[in-house]
């Protein structure tokens, strides 16, 4: 069949995936705060109410009820796609996600399924305050029962969201609002991929940088800078933290002998530690250098851009850590 391909911004790709879902699944529901009549705080759900009516609706400012309602509806045959406006607000719904949603299938020994998708966007944008800037993916990657994906580009924003919606497992899609304006060619009616899978977005031979979400772009910038210095960097977009697609990471480290993990979240306890720990166990003998990590220092996120510039990691931090790792390696 002829593949429809469109030039879409990240946020438009998210919108297109919603439209696909509502067309594909009669049981799909879309709800959250300001998602229907106002067309969504960021436009992710633009036009859906008009197109699909009551299956798309606005809710009270009650995140626990939103998540719980999605769970109960999913257990009873619906396929809800809900939006939590900012990742930081997930904190008010943690019980529903961790103690309720994540337990549904396992505790019932497969008796129940919870095919629901929780969409949010997270991370810092210039001037955003401490309550609108966190990257909290580590909480959910540490919660068995959930799937967790962080799309870094428009194509993945579309494909990964479709994978999440099509999946019969509860899945969190954590976007980054700074990526919303990015545009790219997106194939609209290709086959829906199963959840999972990382992607080598740049091949290299000296060091492997494993990253996700906004830091993929920053890592690619860093790779350019490092290339000018004669350093060949391989960049892997992990895409999904759960399931963790580890084999390609191991294969890459086997070739490069060096690993740096980069994320926007606070360094200590971030998911970068998990990737580093897996490599330090399973790929230990392949390593020619200490494992480096890039993340925000362990502080809250200040609102002043002047301060954010030194707290929120970017390409420069990746260049720095990669350079240090190379300097410390035995080649």
């Amino acid at each position: 069949m002829p593949e429809a391909v469109a030039e879409l911004r990240y946020i438009q790709a998210v919108n297109a995936a919603h439209r696909w879902a509502l067309e594909t699944y009669p049981e799909a529901l879309v709800f959250g705060e300001d998602v229907a009549l106002p067309n969504g705080p960021f436009g992710a759900t633009k036009g859906l109410r008009e197109m699909f009516g009551a299956r798309v609706f606005d809710t009270p400012i009650s995140e626990s009820a939103i998540v719980g309602a999605a769970l109960g509806a999913a257990m009873r045959g619906r396929r809800p796609i809900i939006e939590i406006m900012y990742g930081d607000f997930i904190a008010v719904a943690m019980d529903q996600i961790v103690n309720q949603v994540a337990n549904t299938r396992y505790v019932s020994r497969g008796g129940w399924r919870a095919p629901l998708t929780i969409r949010t966007q997270q991370g810092n944008s210039p001037g955003a305050c401490a309550q609108h800037s966190q990257s909290l993916e580590a909480w959910f990657a540490h919660t068995p029962g959930l799937r967790v994906g962080l799309p870094s580009n428009p194509r993945d924003a579309y494909e990964m969201l479709r994978s999440a919606i099509a999946s019969d497992d509860p899945t969190m899609i954590m976007e980054h609002r700074l990526l919303y304006p990015d545009a790219a060619q997106v194939a609209l009616d290709g086959p829906v991929e199963p959840i999972g899978g990382s992607r080598v977005v740049r091949a290299g031979t000296d060091v492997t940088v494993v990253t996700w979400s906004r830091m993929v772009g920053e890592s690619l910038k860093a790779a350019d800078t490092l290339a000018d210095r004669g350093v060949s960097v391989e960049v892997i977009d992990l895409r999904w933290l759960s399931p963790l697609d580890f084999a390609p990471v191991a294969a890459s480290v086997h070739r490069t002998g060096r690993l740096v993990v980069a994320h926007e979240a606070n360094l200590t306890g971030g998911f970068g530690a998990e990737v580093a720990a897996r490599v330090a166990d399973e790929c230990f003998w392949d390593l020619d250098a200490p494992i480096g990590r890039v993340g925000a220092p362990d502080v809250r996120i200040p609102a002043s851009p002047v301060l954010q510039a030194v707290v929120v990691p970017a390409a420069g931090a990746v260049v720095e850590v990669v350079s240090r790792i190379l300097a410390e390696s035995n080649r």
């Binding site: 809710t59 009650s62 626990s64 009820a65 719980g68 309602a69 769970l71 109960g72 009873r76 299938r105």
Partner: protein
């Protein structure tokens, strides 16, 4: 009427006997973990489930054994589940406070206070979209109404006029703390108007009263009238959980509660009628005891789950 009386008595007695047997099994080490029994509150699940249909959804709490039995779950599976055996219910993974049963529309118990309320709202939301005409009923305790999730769930259901029925089993205690010390209202049903939904307070120890109230609420919900709240007053005849010695309860409180509890009431009415009626209830007690015993035996025959199965059913 007499037949009706024995039927009511049997429905209550089977739950009471189940709970009492759980206590002895717990004492004998056959049930691990702590268990939360509903002795004295049986009329609520019995009356409520009589007003429900198979298509309806039921969500309860860790104190939900009575609801499970009234909803028709198998006694053998329940005992086996509580024993941590490979029951057909949840294979021993859920235990006493968290089991569920899809085929009974039993969304499950929940051991997070009020944690099941949003889920029940979701079942009602599904009904609003799937044309099934089903209703979602959820039971929580008095103290649970002070959880944020209870508030969000009630308003959410009210806003969309979802087919939800909330039954608050007011046994006047939240664990070891009296509810009167934890709210500044006389009746918990006074919370209902704040959501723009009907709320009633009823005698939760009378099966007929409970059934009638739930029928009203279910009819309203099914016909698009939206959610409502039923505060069913009752009393706990036992501790909050298996290990609770109830030092915090005024002396005589439990004894006087035994005068008001559902089984005693029926026995009293039988006594008023005469020895024949009493004898018929004694006969029911014997049947029930036998039923429970054979269920325990059957449960004991169910093996424990295979250890290596512990990693199964995490994902689709």
């Amino acid at each position: 009427m007499a037949a009706n009386r024995e039927e009511d008595y049997r429905a209550l007695a089977i739950i009471r006997a189940f709970e009492e047997r759980c206590m002895t099994l717990k004492g004998a080490g056959e049930i691990p973990g702590s268990i939360h029994l509903c002795d004295g509150q049986e009329a609520i699940p019995v009356g409520a489930c009589r007003a429900l249909e198979a298509r309806d959804a039921v969500t309860v709490t860790y104190r939900g054994h009575g609801w499970a039995i009234a909803r028709g779950l198998s006694l053998v599976d329940l005992f086996a589940e509580l024993m941590g055996r490979d029951s057909h219910l949840n294979g021993g993974r859920a235990g006493s406070p968290f089991f569920s049963s899809p085929e009974h529309g039993f969304l499950g118990e929940n051991s997070i206070v009020a944690g099941g309320m949003p889920m029940a709202v979701g079942a009602a939301l599904a009904a609003a979209h799937d044309g099934s005409g089903s209703v979602s009923i959820v039971s929580v305790g008095d103290g649970a109404l002070n959880q944020g999730a209870a508030h969000e769930a009630l308003n959410f259901a009210a806003v969309f006029a979802l087919p939800l029925v909330l039954v608050v089993e007011n046994n006047f205690y939240s664990e070891m703390t009296p509810i009167r010390d934890m709210v500044r209202i006389e009746r918990l049903a006074e919370r209902a108007p704040g959501y723009g939904i009907p709320g009633v307070t009823i005698d939760g120890n009378d099966i007929a009263v409970v059934e009638a109230a739930v029928r009203d609420a279910v009819a309203r919900a099914r016909s698009g009238g939206g959610p409502s709240m039923i505060e069913a007053n009752t009393e706990r005849l036992v501790g909050h959980y298996s290990g609770d010695l109830q030092a915090y309860r005024p002396s005589g409180e439990v004894a006087s509660a035994r005068e008001r509890e559902p089984l005693t009431r029926i026995r009293r009415s039988a006594a008023d009628e005469g020895p024949g009626a009493v004898a018929r209830l004694d006969a029911v007690d014997r049947e029930v005891a036998a039923t429970i015993e054979s269920a325990v035996e059957a449960a004991r025959a169910i093996p424990y789950p295979a250890p290596e199965s512990a990693r199964e059913h995490m994902y689709a």
